[in-house]
Amino acid sequence: METQTRRFKQNAREAMADGQLAQALTRLGEGFPLRRAEAIDRLPEFDQLRDAAKAIKDHTLAHLDLYLEQYESKVKEAGGHVHWCRTGQDAREKILEICRSVNAKTVTKSKSMIGEEIAINDFLEENGVAPIETDLGEYIIQLRKEPPSHIIAPAVHLNKGQVEDTFRKAHTNLDPARNLDDPKSLLEEARVELRDKFLNADVGLTGANFLIAETGTNVLVTNEGNADLTYSLPRVHIVIASLEKVIPTLEDTATVLRVLARSGTGQDITVYTTFCTGPKRPDDLDGPDEYHVILLDNGRTELVGTEFQEMLRCIRCGSCLNHCPVYHAIGGHAYGWVYSGPMGAVLIPGLIGIHEAGDLPNASTLCGKCETVCPMRIPLPKMLRAWRERQYQRKGNSAAARWALGLWAALAKRPKLYRAVTGPLMTALAILGRKRGRFKWLPLAGGWTGPRDLPAPQGDSFIAQYHKGPVGAVVRSKGQ
């Protein structure tokens, strides 16, 4: 997927002008947080589970090489192959090579953010292999040639009417007069369309929610069962996963799974939780003949050992998006790349560089809601600040911002000068604003006064009045 992160401000403006999107985001902002709260109320030990899950991932990240090697050897033991890929290009070429080795025409896919990250669909298409998304949301946005706007609800930006239009345009083989009025009919149509594709695919490509080192197992959670069909029906299966998905044991995986769905969709557990280990064994009825795992780095190892290492605890639950007031205002596409919301604002600069994604860590009020809902206790505001610090050190922010900040800091460090400058300024503003109590517009304050009035100051500063005594006493006496 091509990055549009440099266009963040423009993307955000366009998104906010879209009334349909605003409605969809309101629904999301009301639905998921409520369901999360209810799911957590049903599980008193939720916070202890979060601590346990965090500890598991911290331990794993501290011994990442060890667990990845264990995972690799277990996959091989089960008859699978592991391919280590440093870059997205390496991964794309390896996937194509596997597809070509079996002369594949079609590849069914089950939701994978990594697939989006390396733009595998475009690459396969360019090379004569047709990728077919099988998650309903992903299928819809594939037909519309759009990127996902949410990590667990990729088509959350669309409404039912838009999905109906999309299906009518894409499924031209069906009766134009058919009824597509309700979600059920849309779902039925997608199921029928996808059924043959599941059965006829040459290769199945899935992501991984977790990779279990102890057993060489790939864990997939879905609500539609599409990952199971993608894994079990085609002759060849490819798992694509980034390195930090590894978890030491089956037991550990159970712990992390308990916080995943509760945080994201507010379910106790997803409808399907599938554990796939290697290709079909001699006595198995189903399963692929070949099982490949693409282990992708794509910048992750560069975050290990830095102030951003904790980001690698992320289990892609989507909770920080669901609760973020900035995400609610602009939606996922505005972020301009695969990931979005608070987790995206931290992860994207880590993967493509702060010079490419300079707006993302800044476009946050640091309200802290994301951290309070993160099941893995990732200190997202702290890391957003850390990116701003790196950006400041590289002089990556605007000259005007640096100048204004520098001026304020210079004053703040010199109390006498601060008083000498701010005192007369506030007095002047107080006199100017006395009549209305506020300003509709002020020079150099356009950012503020565009959307809102600027309250006028009351007059001389508090500290000046307090230390002058009599004036302070007059104001004080009013309340007594």
Partner: protein, 267 residues
């Protein structure tokens, strides 16, 4: 999120409190400063307002300018470390001192302990009154329907939620109506509101809608930044809801025009 228990098990009966006025209160709304002094003195504190204070350094810190933020933090520490307690009428600035100064100065051997010591005795005003002083306030009656906004730093860094509501419960005639989203950020975010004005507008509009839906006549909060943002938008939309810092109501100092209003608006 943060442990915010009173620092001293047996607080002095008449503690010496350094008032950190915050730059916004100092420059924009002195009445909040005077209300704070009154509340603290009524609770039995001896209050000082050091003249050498300016800003807590948050604009620099949140913009990635840690070097300047550290210098400003050291100034605040030097000015305030002699008091029994430091109190600010702002969850954001109190959070900066008590939550972020220790992090900011963690690698500075000389300053780390001083930052931690100051952090342990720095409080937001309303939490200080309720938790540390357990103040028995008796604010004058005020016949009004009010709604309260939980400012982000106070709520999430300092755990302030029950205290303002408990104290407002002592104001006779005040009916508190909760909005649907009292804990949602108003879109102020310091420099965020000027760097991303249109996103901020969308956020403050959601808040304004929620505030108006409560039918309240008065919006209260513990942070002037959020209040100026919400009041500015409400006034810009022509709404009649007044906005005040919670300290003004608790101190009974509501004779000054509300935030963003002129004398004639209140007449």
């Amino acid at each position: 999120m943060t442990e915010y228990a009173p620092a001293l098990k047996n607080p002095p009966t008449s503690p010496e409190v350094g008032l950190f006025a915050t730059c916004l209160v100092d420059l924009m709304r002195p009445s909040v400063g005077f209300a704070t002094v009154k509340l603290l003195e009524d609770a039995g504190c001896r209050v000082s307002v050091p003249e050498a204070q300016t800003c807590c350094g948050q604009p620099a810190y949140n913009s990635g300018d840690s070097a300047d933020a550290r210098d400003i933090a050291k100034n605040v520490i030097a000015v305030f470390e002699g008091f029994d307690y430091v109190v600010a009428p702002s969850g954001s600035c109190a959070g900066m001192i008590s939550h972020h100064y220790p992090h900011l100065l963690k690698d500075d051997a000389a300053w780390k302990a001083r930052a931690e010591a100051l952090a342990a005795k720095t409080f937001e005003l309303v939490a200080f009154l309720a938790d540390v002083m357990q103040a028995d306030i008796s604010p004058p009656d005020l016949g009004v329907t009010a709604t309260y906004h939980d400012s982000c730093s106070g709520l999430r860094e300092l755990g302030i939620k029950a205290q303002p509501r408990a104290l407002l419960g002592k104001v006779g005639g005040l009916t508190l109506v909760e909005g649907d989203i009292p804990e949602t950020c108003c879109g102020f975010g310091g420099l965020f509101c000027v760097k991303y004005p249109d996103i901020s507008e969308k956020m403050v509009d959601a808040k304004a809608d929620d505030i108006l839906a409560t039918g309240a006549d008065l919006l209260l909060a513990g942070d002037l930044g959020c209040l100026m943002n919400m009041a500015g938008r409400l006034k810009g939309r022509g709404a009649s809801v007044q906005a005040r810092h919670v300290a003004e109501v608790l101190a009974g100092m509501t004779d000054q025009p509300a935030i963003g209003e002129a004398d004639e608006d209140t007449a």
